[in-house]
Structures are given as structure tokens and as C-alpha cells.
Symmetry: C2
Subunit: 373 residues, 2 copies
């Protein structure tokens, strides 16, 4: 029985624990909320702050292998634990790079990974030196998450909305499509990639609207996307599960946007629609076992269930019965007691031979299945 | 959030709880072993004896809906809880009938369900009155489980091995094949059946060797088997998930062997290989929701992982790495610390288009994947 610790207790931890029960492992979770989604599915729940050095250090010393389900953790403690012989996946150095968007972008550049042209802006005042890059996206170096810490600067008149802390100013790409590719690396260096997923965003909330797999792109673009994702992940030289987000521009160029070194929202469809789900894949990696088969069983569509606008408080699910009448639809609720506008409360996956049918069904679901209070 | 209680904390409860996390439910488990497979995956674990009237009554009063993962529970308490307005699934009357093989066989007879000819034997001495039925199977009325409480009486010389308590003496069928059909009934009376699975038994341990879906039988036999299973389940007039085990004899007649009113070993393949797994199906029933789609996504084979002969103590899994290299194979370990010969320690499922490939792979797995100590 390998003792495995997870820093963070959100829905990603929850789904990781659902899969954990299939493997010979004893699970530990640390989170500062005893009612978090993962709290009741582990062997040992530890109430604690994953950003606090001492808390992470003490927690990590109780396990054989340590992983994360969110990047915002105390990396100093992880580096200390690595020195003490604890297996930390991904390697703390990866988190060190990824936690700061300035380091992340510089890393892409140093490794010849195509990414949108950018400048580093130490302060808001410095933005005026880079008017040539506008329209651009301003990204806070540290602390951004799920649409926070990101703002669009179209013209010089917008500069006041920029961040006054060290940030990245990134030339705005004319986006044709957004893709994500999951890449898995075993402890022995074996590497496999899942086929890309194509993401459609809700512009208002900057949250995923739905995603389909396979992406509706040419075989050439698919090969390029997967090759690029693997190349980037290999540059990090670390075992783990990585989600690589990218853009295709109007000229079919591919640009890396971001990477998350953990199970990811863009991999939820793999639970039912692929032979080895992203969660099973990470368990194989954590256990020091061979990787699984990332191939799809069938095309799929994944839709996040987001707290509806105008509703805050105890969550209720409207239209659940109609949803459950759909023949090939899978429900995943995250066990969060309270909803609020834009909060990720669950997701649903549709499987079927024809993507056209799936998108029609998804539109239907969006009109009927709502998280209210 | 519906509060749902499960009596029993074995592997069936464990897999039920893995699926539970997708639904709006708060889970309660009662079992007399704090280290049982289901203990760490529920919201509330209650240490208690599921055969004890007071324990079951107190436990049941804390939930909205109560179900079982093993038949040997206190039915008196369930009947009292039903009177008090708790939803008990399956209805306690079903358990009352099924717990006693004498009642079970009589129920088949009364409902015109084909089952092997039988006599009721109040004592061992009474066996001599039924020599005309030999060769026969002697089954203890109450308390048999997983091969215990069942003995074969071939000739008059074997009668001493018969049970001295009320039992059923059942004419031995010349078995061609053993099948199982899962049937689901919703709280509104909706009914669906999964396609039959064909079971191959290890004669020595009287435990399932492996099972395949679809069964290798004629369409006519498949229709007969599914129709018969539905007819039997309808006679019980209760919501729930039911596993109907049956024999096909050498003349292609189908005979009902047993029924279990719960999730069942014969439905494990549905987790990956069917749109709605047996565990998801039961959650839909418990939540008062519509039934799911029982159709297969792909043919499958399921193999129980049984504690190897000659090994008792802390479990180790030999050949796990080779197993995890198989492309379409799924692992399910039950989290039991100790192994012993014949103990169910986990199962594996294989998916693929051709059953011939699956059986070849299964033979390979049986030769390499072992639970030892």
C-alpha cells in the first residue's frame, strides 16, 4: 500500500480519489476546508493550508508520494521534501516555473516553444513602453486563476486597467480555435499524449462552455499540436500528467498558451470516453507503474455545470431528471453545498459516434439543466 | 442532498460509493469492521452489526433511503423502517423471500418461473424419502453464501453429507452454460435489463473464473433469458437492481438458479463496458430518477482476482506491472489488507471488439497476475 498525498481538495482531487480506490494506495488529502469536495473520499483528511511551508512539510513527511490538484501550493516545502527523499510529482522545479507567468513564458522562449510574442512589465507605468504590442493580453505574473489576473489592453487608453505588479504583456492572437492536449510522463520517462480536445468558451465568464474530442481540425494540425505538447512537456523533465493549452490562429499556426502540471478540466471526458482516464493515468504515474492507453473509445463532448447567474446559496439542480433520460450522458456533481454565479458545480459528458448529435444535445442540456439555489 | 444508507461495507459498497460521488447524495455505511472496503469512501461510517435489529433500526432512522450490498441483514428492522416511512430498496418483503432458499424456490414455483424440480427437506433423515431426485444439489435454507451451504448428493451413499436443518433438495441440471441477467426497476416501475453475461466457474473454489458479455448463445436463448429475468423481477414488485442467475441445460432449456436483489459480481463489467454501470443504475433508482442505458459500449470480459492458494496475510499483487501494460484492461482492487485462499481481492475488466482476443488475454492474466502475501 503506497501512501499518496494530494495537496488540494477540490473537484480534481475528488475525481482522483474516485479512481484511487482501484489501486493499492492509502490516500491523504490536505485542504483548509473540511467540507471540500475531496474530504470524504480519502483515508486521511488533514485540515491545513497548502500555501503554508510548515503545513505542507509536515503533511508531506507522512506519505511516500506527493502530488497536487492545484498549482498554488508551497513550493519551498516541496523542494525540502524532495531533498528528504519523498517522491514529488510533478517535480517542484516545474511548479516553480509555472506558478509565475513570467517564468513560464521565458521557459517557452528558452525551449523554442512557439508562444505569443511578449514583454515583461515590472509595473503599470512600464506599459507605455510597449504600445507597439497592442492589442495585447496583460497577465499577472503570480496569483492569476480561472480568468482572474488577466485583462485585455486594446489601445493606449486601456493602460490604466493594467496590473501594477510584475506581469506579462502578450500580443493578442487572432484565435481560430482553442485546443488542449494532455500528456502523461511515467516515473521511468515513458510518454504518451491524448488526442487534442477543442474548447469553446463562454466569453462572458471566461469559463469553458463545452469541449469536444476529437477536435475538428486537420490531421496535420492534430499531429502538430500533439508533437508540440510532448516537446514542451519533455522540456520540463518531470513525471506527471500535464495539460497543455494552445491556440490555433487564423493562419493555422499553433501557439502555446499555458500548461498545468496536473489533472485538468480539459481531461474530464477521458473518464468515460477513453480507455485510460486522466485520473487513472495519474495513479499509474504515482504508483510507478506503466502508462495506460490514452486512445478514445468513442467521440465525446464535455460540458461544465456552472452556477447560474442570479443564484447564490444552497445548490439545487434543475432539469436533472430530463438530463438523466438521455441515453449516453454521464453526470458528475462535485458535492459543493453552495452555488454562486460562475462556480464550477459539476460536469456532464456525452458519448456518441457523431459530434453533430453531441453538440445538438449539449445545446439542449444548456437550456434545461441549471444549478440554482 | 438525499441521505442514503448502505447496509454492508464490502467491495460492492465500495464501488457503489465510487459512483455515488457523481450524484447529489450524502452517504452512510454500516458495517462491523472499521477497515472494510467501503469505510473510507462514505460521508458517515457507522460501526455496527447489520444483522442486529436495534443497530439497523437506529441506522435506518438517520437516512432518507436505505439499501443493501449483502442479503444477510436484519429484515425485521427494515420492515419497521418501511412502516416509519423510510424508503427501503429493495422492499424488505423481497429480502424475506430471498434470505431463505425454501421461500425462494416456492416463490419461483408460485409465479410459474422455470426452476429445477425440488423438495423441501426439514432434516437430514428426511433425505432418504427423495432418492428419486438424485443426483441432486442440497442447499441450506438459511445462511448459505459463496459456495457455503451447498453440497452435491449424487447417490444414496452421499446422504450423510446432507444438511440437518431445513433445506432444499434440487434435481441436478445437466448444465450447458451459466448466465446472469441484471434487471433494474425504478421507483416509478420503469424496468430495463442488461444483456446476459456468460459465466465460467472455477470448479474447485466454486467461484467465478471469468465472465463474458455478450454471452455466446443464440439470439433466441438471449431473448428467453432476458424475458424470464424481467418476468421474475416483476413478480417481486419492488424497485431495485436484481441479478438473476440461470442455467441453460443440454436441451437449451433455461432454469432460474438464484436471484440477488442488489448490485452483483456479475455486473462488474458494466463499470467500463456499458453506458450506465450497475452502480450508476442503482443510484438512479435510489435517487428516484429515471433509469440509465444498459446497452454495451463494447464486448467485455471480467475476471475476479482471488487470493492464491497457499498465501494468507498481508496482500501483495504479483504481475501488476505486466497487467497494466495491456492496452484495454481495467484494474479494480478492493482495498482488503489481508488475503487468503479464495478471497475476492479485486477484479479486472477487458474491453475489445473480439471475445476470442479477450479470452486469450484473460488466460494470460490468470497465469501472471496473482494475489499473494
Amino acid at each position: 500500500m503506497k501512501k499518496v498525498g494530494i495537496l488540494g481538495g477540490g473537484q480534481l482531487g475528488r475525481m482522483l480519489l474516485q479512481a484511487a480506490a482501484n489501486y493499492p494506495t492509502e490516500t491523504y488529502v490536505m485542504e483548509n476546508d473540511a467540507e471540500c469536495p475531496a474530504a470524504n473520499l480519502c483515508h486521511h483528511f488533514v485540515l491545513g493550508n497548502i500555501r503554508d511551508f510548515e503545513s505542507v512539510l509536515q503533511f508531506g513527511r507522512t506519505v511516500d508520494v506527493l502530488t497536487i490538484e492545484i498549482e498554488q501550493v508551497n513550493v519551498d516545502a516541496l523542494e525540502q521534501l524532495e531533498k528528504e527523499g519523498i517522491t514529488v510529482i510533478p517535480r517542484p522545479a516545474v511548479l516553480r516555473t509555472i506558478q509565475n507567468k513570467i517564468h513560464q513564458k521565458t521557459f517557452y522562449q528558452q525551449n523554442n516553444i512557439p508562444t505569443a510574442p511578449f514583454r515583461i512589465t515590472p509595473s503599470r507605468a512600464s506599459l507605455s513602453e510597449h504600445l507597439d504590442l497592442l492589442p495585447a493580453v496583460h497577465k499577472l505574473g503570480v496569483g492569476g486563476y480561472d480568468g482572474k489576473g488577466v485583462t485585455i489592453l486594446n489601445t493606449a487608453a486601456d493602460l490604466d486597467a493594467g496590473f501594477d505588479e510584475p506581469s506579462v504583456l502578450e500580443k493578442k492572437i487572432d484565435i481560430q480555435k482553442e485546443l488542449a492536449v494532455l500528456v502523461a510522463v511515467s516515473q521511468t520517462g515513458e510518454i504518451v499524449a491524448y488526442p487534442s480536445v477543442e474548447m469553446v468558451f463562454d466569453q462572458k465568464l471566461n469559463l469553458l462552455d463545452y469541449q469536444v474530442c476529437p477536435s475538428l481540425i486537420s490531421t496535420e494540425s492534430e499531429i502538430k499540436a500533439v508533437t508540440l505538447a510532448k516537446q514542451l512537456v519533455q522540456a520540463f523533465d518531470s513525471p506527471g500528467l500535464f495539460a497543455v493549452e494552445m491556440f490555433i490562429d487564423l493562419e493555422n499556426n499553433i501557439w502555446i498558451n499555458e500548461i498545468a502540471p496536473r489533472v485538468h478540466n480539459s481531461g474530464h471526458h477521458t473518464i468515460e470516453a477513453h480507455y485510460c482516464s486522466q485520473f487513472d493515468m495519474l495513479w499509474r504515474i504515482l504508483m510507478g507503474m506503466p502508462l495506460g492507453n490514452p486512445e478514445p473509445i468513442m467521440p465525446s463532448l464535455m460540458l461544465n455545470l456552472i452556477g447560474a447567474n442570479g443564484f447564490s446559496g444552497k445548490a439545487r439542480y434543475e432539469g436533472l431528471e430530463e438530463f438523466l433520460r438521455l441515453p449516453n450522458a454521464f453526470l458528475h456533481l462535485y458535492g459543493k453545498k453552495d452555488t454562486k454565479p460562475g462556480r464550477k458545480m459539476g460536469h456532464v459528458t456525452l458519448m456518441g459516434s457523431y459530434l453533430e448529435d453531441l453538440t445538438a444535445t449539449a445545446d439542449n442540456i444548456k437550456a434545461t439543466l441549471r444549478v440554482i439555489s
